[in-house]
């Protein structure tokens, strides 16, 4: 631990916002301890339920505002799954919809000042990423049997190249869950750290106006990134699902 707030020169340390704390008391963080991560994940789930269950309860022909947002999100993800995975991928639409909504809600709730961003933790995104990886691998073997392995045997390539390509494909297959989860966590963490660095500059009098203007711009960028990263996570899940359902090149 080389970098403490005192010798960094900034009034606040940019990484302090990611500390996991127990919600009640100061005890150690055990697996059952209710922490700020638990709270904000529960809030993300509550926001999902509020939007998709409570918001669309009326089932009106002319939708209310809440219902239109819910319908928009549903249609958006439905079209994405259909376009990328194909018709037979729609059986897994509920899982992908849940993933998308959870990530988007967790990202947006994390943008509220003084809140906690659960998706900035690799522990959270790794569960999502490895969950997708395991589900897709099991599904590939269940649906295709041993012929799922033809995903690694590129039959369109020259015979001499195929073993080399198989090794590369195998490595890229097993890197998938790592890059899948680290992309989300890394983007969100980097964005929030940049926000806090600018917040630290705002404490210095003569650069404060510039720093605050910069924060506004970066905050707007972060709103965009929050949505795009949820979109990217979801669309890559669709791509992996397509590979599992149709492994032949």
């Amino acid at each position: 631990m080389a970098n403490k707030a005192e010798d960094g020169g900034l009034a606040i340390h940019p990484m302090d916002q990611f500390i996991v704390k127990p919600l009640f008391g100061d005890g150690p963080v055990l697996w059952y301890t209710i922490t700020n991560v638990t709270l904000w994940m529960a809030l993300a789930v509550a926001a999902m339920v509020l939007m998709m269950v409570v918001g669309t309860r009326g089932r009106a022909i002319i939708p209310s505002r809440a219902q239109s947002v819910g319908e928009l999100a549903y249609g958006f993800v439905h079209k994405m799954v259909e376009d990328v995975t194909g018709k037979d991928g729609l059986a897994y639409f509920p899982y992908i919809m849940t993933l998308f909504l959870f990530i988007v809600m967790a990202n947006f709730l994390g943008l509220i000042p003084m809140s906690f961003t659960t998706t900035s933790h690799i522990a959270v995104t790794a569960v999502l990423g490895f969950g997708v990886f395991l589900a897709v691998t099991v599904l590939g073997f269940v649906k295709n049997g041993a012929s799922f392995l033809s995903l690694f045997w590129v039959s369109s390539a020259p015979l001499l190249l195929r073993p080399v390509l198989a090794v590369i494909e195998l490595i890229s297959y097993f890197v998938r869950p790592v890059s899948h989860s680290i992309r989300l966590a890394g983007n969100i963490m980097a964005g929030h750290a940049v926000l806090k660095v600018f917040a630290g500059f705002a404490a210095v009098t003569w650069v404060a106006p510039v720093a605050i203007l910069g924060m506004v711009g970066i905050y707007a960028l972060e709103v965009l990134v929050s949505f795009i990263q949820a979109y990217v996570f979801t669309i890559l899940t669709c791509v992996y699902l397509r590979d599992a359902l149709h492994p032949h090149h």
């Binding site: 994405m80 376009d83 890059s179 992309r183 990217v232 669309i235």
Partner: protein, 78 residues
């Protein structure tokens, strides 16, 4: 003194790892720029390819994120 040199190594290493972010920026710019060039030639086909655009950007960006991770590990975990 030894601790100082180790710390210097950490900071230099983290700074070097940050070069990877710049390389990822070149990659992402290349993807987006080529998409725009293609989209302006044939705007009617561009709408269907936005998903491909984002997949390409995500793959190019992933490796930059890895270098960012190395920098973070050097700064806070080593």
């Amino acid at each position: 003194m030894e601790g100082d040199i180790a710390q210097m190594g950490q900071f230099i290493g983290a700074g070097l790892a940050a070069i990877g972010s710049g390389a990822a920026a070149i990659g992402v710019g290349h993807v987006a720029g080529n998409f725009l060039a293609g989209a302006l030639r044939n705007p009617s086909a561009a709408g269907d390819q936005t998903a491909t655009l984002f997949i390409g950007i995500a793959f190019a960006e992933a490796l930059g994120i890895f270098s960012f991770l190395v920098a973070l590990l050097l700064m806070f975990a080593v």
